[in-house]
């Protein structure tokens, strides 16, 4: 157990470093990325640009620049090229919105994803299964930016009704009611995609598991259909869902719901990433990527630990 954790932690750190290096490299290679020119603005003289390049260290070799950036990042001293604001402060400011979005949406998508999967599996081939399948495919196919704008227009901006506030984030400590009413639409819009996807995956898993010999054994013992479904079929069918959920949850928590955050103007970490990418602003992109990578590696570790709990065959003895 201890060796497992140590080994995985070392691996996780290496992954994070590799990620920062790749992001950095992309910015060196990509054309039009000269940060000095961007900082200097449209009407800068060539001398201005040279001065900026020198004072920000852009004339240094790339490995020196990379090293300086790493040092700044782990010291929490990364500063945006455009707004000159501290990246860490910006990320921390975005976290409440991102966390609210992730936790709420993930509860919805996990609950309804499992419900949809179980319902369509136990009625496989019948009308309800087909209806659910079509709905799930529609859910998977609807792009978040489109669904987000549509729901905003019809449900928040008076296209049909004005039940919900039109975007932006209100802190839960500020006003729990306002927080909730601001979050409902983003939660639903983000969850729709995952519900369809989880439902399909779970349906397939259940239909595979139902044909397992041990399910036949369970039946031959005279167990009730409900007990067979919950204790013998679902228990194993849910194992792959755990992986999906762990990684999806981490990705959204790490600012991966860029579209949802931007469409609903939540000012979360994802939207911060979107702004920085628009401005070609390397330090915040590095910061957000690192922040996202952190959640991904941590949650994939948690998923592995949870796996050992779920499946005794891979438990270290």
């Amino acid at each position: 157990m201890a060796t497992f954790l140590v080994r995985r932690s070392i691996g996780a750190i290496l992954v994070c470093i590799a990620v920062t290096f790749v992001v950095f490299l992309i910015f060196i290679v990509v054309p039009g990325g000269d940060p000095a020119q961007r900082i200097a603005g449209k009407n800068a003289t060539p001398q201005n640009i040279i001065n900026i390049r020198h004072s920000w260290g852009f004339d240094q070799p790339f490995y020196t620049q990379y090293w300086v950036m790493l040092k700044k990042m782990f010291g929490g001293n990364l500063v945006s090229y455009t707004s000159q604001q501290n990246v860490l402060t910006q990320i921390v400011q975005g976290m409440p919105a991102t966390f609210s979005l992730t936790i709420g949406a993930s509860i919805i998508w996990l609950f309804f994803g499992i419900l949809v999967g179980v319902l369509s599996a136990i009625t496989a081939g019948r009308l309800s299964d087909r209806v659910i399948t079509v709905l799930a495919l529609i859910g998977i196919s609807m792009p978040v930016f489109w669904l987000g704008i549509i729901t905003r227009y019809y449900l928040a901006e008076g296209g049909l009704v004005t039940w919900f506030p039109d975007g932006e984030y209100v802190g839960i400590t500020q006003s729990p009611v306002q927080w909730l009413s601001h979050m409902i639409l983003p939660w639903l819009v983000l969850a729709v995609l995952f519900i369809g996807f989880y439902g399909r995956v779970l349906r397939g898993n259940i239909l595979d598991t139902i044909n397992e010999d041990y399910v036949r054994t369970a039946k031959s013992k005279g167990l009730t259909p409900r007990r067979i479904l919950v204790k013998h079929v679902l228990r194993t069918s849910l194992i792959p869902i755990v992986t999906l959920f762990g990684l999806d949850f981490a990705a959204v928590l790490g600012g991966g719901a860029i579209l949802t955050e931007t469409v609903f103007d939540l000012h979360g970490v994802g939207q911060y990433a979107e702004l920085s990418i628009n401005n070609f602003d390397l330090p915040p992109i590095m910061g957000v990527t690192m922040y996202g990578a952190f959640f991904i590696v941590v949650f994939s570790m948690i998923v592995d630990l949870f796996y050992a709990y779920l499946d005794p065959r891979i438990r270290p003895t």
Binding site: D213, T217, K221, G222, L223, T236, P312, R313
Partner: protein, 349 residues
């Protein structure tokens, strides 16, 4: 042979003209077609046949495990006088495990990998007996001891993957017997096991049958498996019973050429070694478009004109109760048979 022969034989199971047909996109699969047999307490019935002969479907149907929207059943399966085919699904649950227990071919996959052996036995007990979990667990330990698991007190908390194949099959048997069923169905219980373990498992089933005062249906493709343990043997081919006899008669006076083929394909140490082990030429017929007449005709080296009509399953030899489906004259047949089983003749391909 049977202990307490003075007692009146108690008929536990009467299967009468059972048919199981499945509707598929390719047509109707007649998996089981007109099968009849009886089972008395204390007896072992062997059902023998190749893959696809309908022996497993017969067994699963007794347990109500073949129920499906596409399955159609005919005939009757009477357990202690009650027709199981007419029971509702929830009534059937009361019989599964409680009155009829079943063990399966592959003990590697028949136990749920994520639950402890003990948990799975306790679950079976609690499905029918409303007993405390601790009581049920004590019974699980006792059962594991009865099936010959060493250190049952600690092994009861093991997971299936910590058991060897033979031990898993023992655990399966313990689980199937946990509610003291009157009939135990063993569907190829030794096929996935090593030869040395096979003999132990068969011996165990025979002993437990007496300990639990039950009856056993042993399903196998290997006549060697039932040679020791069975009282009566049914040979199935393409969903039909083709021969039915007491064990001694089936082994010493088999009437169906198909049965000869099965007997001939067992390696024998008490006879001269043949060039090659005998095998039955060809493959079992499709049960969707079964050939008219005798189902074995296309593979039978002794088929003649009469075989285009299917012979009835009836008694043709001196011994009553020995039934077969073959048109050949009994004396002609006996002469042909001795040649076939000892492997001296090369029959036509």
């Amino acid at each position: 042979m049977e202990p307490g022969g003075a007692l009146m034989a108690e008929r536990l199971l009467e299967v009468e003209d059972l048919s199981v047909h499945f509707a598929t996109v390719d047509g109707t699969v007649k998996a089981v077609d007109g099968v009849s047999f009886e089972l008395e307490r204390g007896k072992v019935l062997g059902i023998v046949g190749e893959s696809g002969s309908g022996k497993s479907v017969t067994a699963m149907t007794l347990m109500g495990l073949t129920r499906d929207v596409n399955a159609h059943f005919g005939g009757e399966v009477r357990y202690k006088g009650r027709n199981l085919l007419e029971l509702s699904e929830s009534e059937m649950q009361g019989y599964r495990g409680n009155e009829i227990g079943m063990i399966f071919q592959d003990p590697m996959t028949s136990l749920n990998p994520v639950y402890r052996i003990g948990e799975q036995i306790v679950e079976a007990i609690q499905a029918h007996d409303k007993v405390d979990k601790r009581v049920a667990k004590r019974r699980a330990v006792e059962l594991l001891k009865q099936v010959g698991i060493p250190n049952p007190e600690s092994r009861v908390d093991d997971f299936p993957h910590q058991f060897s194949g033979g031990m898993r099959q023992r655990a399966m048997i313990a689980m199937a017997l946990s509610c003291n069923p009157d009939v135990l169905i063993a569907d190829e219980p030794t096929t996935a096991l090593d030869v040395t373990i096979q003999a132990q498992i068969i011996e165990l089933i025979g002993r437990l049958k007496d300990d639990f005062n039950s009856a056993v249906i042993m399903i196998t493709h290997d006549l060697g498996v039932v040679a020791e343990i069975a009282d009566e043997i049914i040979v199935m081919y393409a969903g039909r019973v083709v021969e039915q006899a007491e064990k001694r008669d089936l082994f010493y006076d088999p009437q169906m050429p198909y049965t000869w083929g099965l007997l001939g394909s067992i390696p024998r140490l008490d006879r001269p070694k043949p060039e090659r082990l005998h095998s039955i030429k060809g493959a079992p017929p499709s049960v969707i478009n079964a050939p008219a007449g005798c189902k074995f005709r296309p593979r039978c080296p002794h088929a003649f004109e009469k075989c285009v009509d299917e012979p009835a399953l009836e008694n043709r030899v001196e011994k009553p109760g020995h039934l077969d489906r073959c048109w050949l004259d009994v004396e002609v047949k006996r002469a042909l048979r001795d040649a076939t089983i000892s492997g001296d003749t090369q029959e036509a391909a």
